[in-house]
């Protein structure tokens, strides 16, 4: 009787112990799971910082850019032909800057894209491996050179050169900026086009060659159309670079807020408009500079959206 009872008690003890053990195990597992969740959360947070940064930049630019536009009036601001921020009766029209940026970028694309595109086709299809690798490192170097160095060389070589060749009073002009920008966008156009051209399936080219096309015809009539989305993306990337460049342009454009009526006029870009007055501006003038930055940002977002569109098509 007693032994039976003690055995029963023993049994209960054992059950309790076992239960306790599973409980501890469960608790431990629960703890590791909590840690896992926490770590997951930390990584998620780190990933979302990027999104936060984009939102922060957008919101800050909009908040600081809107007041001046409201005070000046959107139409007067965007289409006003005169910028005289320090005059006694200040005028804040940024059409000269917008047009300069558009013309400057268009000019740079007009010069930079054909040269870059042809170089890319040559390097991707015709050049020997050795030439290709040497040229690719040259292009990487060109891409890595700081923009102030481009500005410096432009200031001391290009600007005097333009003054002498075209016999104009000052070489710091739209033309000088266009040439500097064209050189600066060259590496991104070449690199991206080469990537697109290298990715064209060899079968396409073989088929074209077998049908009797010459290699050159094949490259331009088969490979290039097959890589057209990538090449379009390269052009858009170049546009983005050219619109956004500030320092090099600041050193060669002359920075006078003229309408860009001729290639030899001293002009001011959207980027340089922001930076050239920032250090001493205040009040409405400073707010207007933020509004210019907002306009620039809109341009950039537009090119970014286009770039994404072409890149997505390229992937497909």
């Amino acid at each position: 009787m007693i032994t039976q009872q003690s055995r029963k008690i023993e049994q209960i003890h054992q059950d309790i112990r076992a239960e306790h053990k599973t409980h501890v195990e469960w608790k431990r597992r629960n703890r590791t799971q909590t840690i896992e969740y926490m770590i997951h959360g930390i990584f998620l947070l780190l990933g979302l910082i990027t999104v936060g940064c984009v939102l922060l930049i957008t919101v800050y630019l909009i908040i600081s850019g809107i007041p001046a536009i409201r005070q000046i009036g959107l139409l007067d601001f965007l289409f006003g032909k005169e910028w005289a921020s320090t005059a006694s009766e200040p005028k804040y029209g940024i059409l000269p800057f917008i047009l300069t940026s558009v013309y400057g970028t268009a000019g740079a694309i007009l010069i930079g894209v054909p040269v870059g595109f042809m170089t890319a086709v040559y390097l991707s299809k015709l050049a020997s491996i050795k030439v290709k690798s040497v040229m690719q490192s040259a292009v990487s170097l060109l891409a890595g050179i700081p923009s102030v160095v481009y500005g410096l060389v432009g200031m001391l070589v290009l600007v005097p050169g333009i003054r002498k060749i075209f016999n104009v009073p000052d070489g710091a002009s739209l033309l000088a900026s266009i040439i500097v920008l064209a050189i600066m966008i060259l590496p991104s156009i070449i690199k991206m086009s080469i990537t697109a051209l290298d990715a064209v399936p060899k079968e396409y080219e073989d088929a074209s060659l077998a049908l009797g096309a010459t290699p050159i015809e094949t490259y331009f009539k088969v490979s290039v159309p097959a890589a057209k989305s990538g090449i379009a993306a390269a052009v858009v990337l170049g546009v983005g670079r050219a619109i956004g460049e500030a320092m090099a342009v600041m050193m060669v454009a002359g920075n006078v807020p003229n309408m860009p009526n001729s290639l030899f006029q001293s002009v001011r870009f959207l980027t340089t408009a922001v930076s050239s007055e920032m250090s001493y501006s205040s009040g409405l003038q400073r707010q207007a500079l933020f509004s210019i930055a907002l306009v620039l940002f809109m341009f950039i977002m537009l090119t970014n959206a286009m770039l994404n569109f072409f890149l997505k098509r390229e992937k497909e």
Binding site: M135, A138, L152, V153
Partner: protein
């Protein structure tokens, strides 16, 4: 033979395209060569030990760029220190943790957007965000550069994470390791090469950056230690180049800095390709 059978029109096309291609490639090569040689020829004679080892002095009216060199080093260190954990963490989230496709595409879109924003906008926002709160100083500049370099670190890390074989992860899971343990012991060691490549690219970008630093880090030439340096305004090499060339007309010094930057850029490019080749070789073993 083949060329004899071609019609005149096709032959002309052939010749024209070949000439255009060679001209373009030649122009690109000549431009690069000219830029490099011109900057080095103008700059190297101006690089003296005195220039490299002193600060500018009003008494002797001599310019030294030691403060600018140090500022550049400080800002690179501070930026990398801050950007690495964020960038690597974000990349790990994207490749290892994220299960929701929408979140991934939002983060990737944000990173692409960040890499497309020009540096002058970063400079402006950095001024509003950081300089207006903690003052114009190297730290503000570094924080601005952190946002700028985030996409670079993220992309290179992500690329290297994708090369870690899935079987490694499965093996570790099979042995009973938890997610965090797999990430710590299997995934993280696998992305070292991406992190190193990202660091090299970021250093190159920081070295060449000027527009984003002009209004965030300022342009002083004082000689400081790391801590003081980060808390006070200071010009990096590129900003110093701009100030000396544009505002003071000291072209000798500007070219000396340009030559130094050119040499450093070449070294960084060389290091980046070397590292990438080395890692590719190791991976193929």
């Amino acid at each position: 033979m083949l060329s004899q059978t071609l019609s005149k029109k096709r032959k002309n096309y052939e010749v024209l395209m070949k000439v255009l291609m060679l001209l373009s490639a030649g122009l690109t090569a000549a431009l690069t060569l000219f830029l490099v040689i011109y900057v080095l020829v103008q700059g190297i004679p101006n690089i003296t030990w005195e220039l490299l080892s002193t600060k500018p002095s009003y008494l002797t009216e001599k310019i030294g760029i030691l403060p600018n060199i140090l500022n550049t080093v400080y800002i690179i260190l501070a930026t990398l220190l801050l950007v690495l954990p964020i960038g690597v963490g974000a990349a790990i989230y994207l490749t290892e943790y994220a299960s929701n496709k929408k979140v991934v595409s939002i983060i990737e879109y944000a990173a692409e957007t960040l890499s497309g924003i020009p540096s002058i906008i970063y400079g402006l926002v950095g001024m509003l965000l950081f300089s207006n709160n903690i003052g114009t100083c190297l730290l503000s500049g570094a924080l601005t550069l952190v946002i700028m370099n985030l996409p670079t670190i993220m992309r290179t890390t992500q690329e290297s994470l994708k090369t870690v074989p899935q079987s490694y992860r499965e093996g570790a899971f099979g042995l009973g390791a938890g997610k965090w343990r797999v990430v710590r012991t299997v995934v993280l060691p696998g992305c070292v090469d991406g992190v190193i490549t990202g660091c090299i690219l970021s250093v190159g970008r920081i070295l060449g950056e000027s527009a984003a630093l002009l209004f965030t880090a300022g342009f002083a030439h004082a000689l400081n230690g790391v801590i003081d340096g980060l808390a006070t305004p200071g010009a990096t090499l590129t900003v110093a180049l701009y100030v000396y060339a544009k505002e003071q007309g000291e072209f000798g010094v500007a070219f000396a800095i340009a030559a130094i930057l050119m040499i450093l850029t070449a070294l960084i490019n060389f290091a980046a390709t070397f590292v990438q080749k080395q890692f590719a070789k190791r991976r193929s073993l």
